[in-house]
């Protein structure tokens, strides 16, 4: 659907459907072949990102870990 400026705006899902309709073969088969080492590095970076995000939360020595989820 186009807005007033004539720019076509699509949802992520619509874009994905369009891409598949236009593609002669599956997208999965056409993924740029990242090497295994690139992919491993990407996943390590993701985990490091999570850890960096955790480090922004201040903790004191009194903040104990949840060793088991105990519910009441």
């Amino acid at each position: 659907m186009a807005d007033k400026s004539g720019v076509v705006r699509c949802s992520r899902r619509e874009l994905a459907s369009l891409a598949i309709a236009l593609a002669p073969a599956s997208l999965a088969a056409q993924q740029p072949a990242a090497s295994d080492s690139d992919l491993l590095q990407r996943r390590r970076d993701g985990i490091a990102g999570n850890v960096a995000s955790l480090e922004k939360t201040p903790l004191t020595p009194a903040d104990e870990p949840m060793f088991a989820l105990v519910l009441k």
């Binding site: 891409a19 598949i20 992919l39 985990i47 939360t57 870990p65």
Partner: protein
């Protein structure tokens, strides 16, 4: 057998069986035939348990004939996610390294259903290792991508993919799924069925593949809230074989909740108007209108800013890498179908103990900060998932550009938070967008499933979304 039978509720099926209008053997054979014919279309089946199913059905018929009644599930077939052990058939965990794995004992949840006379008809497909390590494509499964009965070019969701599509297509009246982070709620939402993630510890995980010992839950995936209540009652209960067992049993009784009009709902409009994808917003607006007539008191709530996703991700990564350490180290992990997942499991093995502990320390903090919220509200309401189902070939890792993200986070992190804190959640269909189901979820405090089931049943009395049938035959 008339097609209508396949779409009946558990109560209706029970009535037919007890009145001996149909036999369990007839019903089981009819479902087995349907599983065999339609199951492959959705990549829903891991294995048919035909031989043991027919024997169990005959036994149920014999007991019903002798008036030895075991409750509403007696003689009714069901399916179980292929991470639950069952002797005589493979339990593959959806993954090639375990394709020939067998166990000589039954998972507790299946055992409990069988004690009530229910009949296991099929092991159902799943994302490999329940998605441990995180995956990029729907094809991350020994059985191929789970296909959605509403449109088989779209994904059925994961990781309980086969449970979602099999119930939606009425290949079984109900199924067991499991959730560590989203694996019951997502396929339930995508497939337009009603799925219940129970309180952590309510259902024994004995005989189930672990992914995260501190987060895994097993729960029912059905066609209505009422059916979920009956199944949870059957599978809940203490079990000394599961260290996470809460030692409690659930009794389905939505009437115990009292007047829904006395409850208070917590929600945030930004979830439905900002985070939800554009085609779903009018669906949610209509659903909220129905809900506001049932529960007049609503409060806007927002989760405090804490790193919910990073905590959940770190806990699952660390525990999952420990669970699968052997296949990661010996290289069998490379047999998995999804390269992103292989790399994720390998990378997670390097997580430091201090990082895992930091995540668990923040998790305690999250519990302290969020638990008081249920003093102000009784039920949280939010979209079941952020987005609509994607085509099976799409990358599942595409995310919305930061410029399109709303300023407020509302309850967008409630899936991570709810799973970290063991909160129960019920996903139910609330409409359609672009021909695919849209799900809404109700979340409450631990061990208060009757509350969300009562609201779910009331919503389903006012709407007929859960009765819609996908174009399958």
């Amino acid at each position: 057998m008339p097609a209508d039978v396949f779409f009946k509720s558990l109560t209706e099926l029970n009535r037919l069986l007890v009145n001996r209008e149909i036999s369990s053997k007839e019903l089981t054979e009819a479902y087995l035939s349907r599983l065999e014919t339609l199951g492959p279309k959705y990549n829903a089946i891991a294995a048919l348990t035909r031989k043991s199913a027919i024997a169990s059905a005959r036994n149920a018929d014999d007991e019903i004939k002798r008036k030895r009644l075991r409750g509403i599930l007696q003689g009714i077939p069901f399916g179980a996610k292929d991470l639950l052990a069952y002797p005589g058939y493979p339990t593959t965990w959806g993954a090639k390294p375990y394709a020939h794995q067998t166990f000589d004992f039954k998972a507790a949840a299946i055992e409990r259903l069988e004690k009530r006379g229910a009949v296991l008809a099929a092991k159902l497909s799943m994302v490999e290792l329940a998605g441990g390590g995180s995956y990029e494509f729907a094809s991350a499964s020994l059985f191929g991508p789970g296909r959605n009965p509403w449109n088989d070019r779209y994904w059925s969701g994961g990781s309980s993919s086969g449970s979602g599509s099999a119930v939606a297509a009425s290949l079984v009246p109900f199924a067991l799924g499991s959730e560590t982070w989203g694996s019951i709620i997502t396929p339930s939402s995508y497939c337009g069925i009603t799925g219940l993630r129970p309180t952590y510890g309510y259902v024994s995980r004995y005989g189930a593949m672990p992914l995260s010992w501190t987060m895994d839950k097993i729960g029912p995936m059905c066609r209505s809230a009422e059916d979920c209540g009956h199944v949870l009652e059957a599978i809940s209960g203490g079990d000394s074989r599961d260290r996470g067992s809460a030692g409690k049993s659930f009794y389905y009784g939505p009437e115990y909740v009292g007047e829904l009009s006395r409850l208070t709902v917590g929600y945030n409009p930004v979830d439905f108007e900002g985070w939800a994808e554009a085609p779903t917003r009018s669906v949610y607006a209509a659903a909220l209108e129905v809900l506001k007539k049932l529960v007049p008191s609503w409060q806007v709530v927002e989760l405090p800013p804490l790193p919910y996703g990073s905590v959940a991700g770190t806990v699952i990564d660390a525990e999952g890498a420990s669970v699968f350490e052997e296949i990661i180290r010996d290289g069998r992990v490379d047999e998995l179908a999804d390269r992103y997942q292989i790399a994720g499991l390998r990378a997670a093995l390097d997580l430091k103990a201090t990082d895992y502990l930091r995540a668990q320390r923040i998790r305690s903090k999250i519990q302290s900060e969020l638990t008081p919220m249920f003093r102000k509200v009784d039920i949280l309401v939010s979209p079941s998932v952020r987005g609509m189902p994607l085509p099976v070939e799409s990358s599942l890792k595409a995310s919305r550009p930061p410029s399109e993200r709303p300023n407020s986070r509302g309850l967008i992190d409630v899936s991570a938070a709810g799973n970290l804190l063991g909160w129960p959640a019920l996903s139910l269909p609330c409409g359609f967008a672009d021909g695919l189901p849209v799900g809404i979820q109700f979340i409450t405090r631990p061990f208060n499933e009757n509350r969300i089931l009562a609201l779910g049943a009331a919503f389903q009395r006012e709407t007929d979304w859960h009765l819609r049938r996908p174009p399958i035959d």
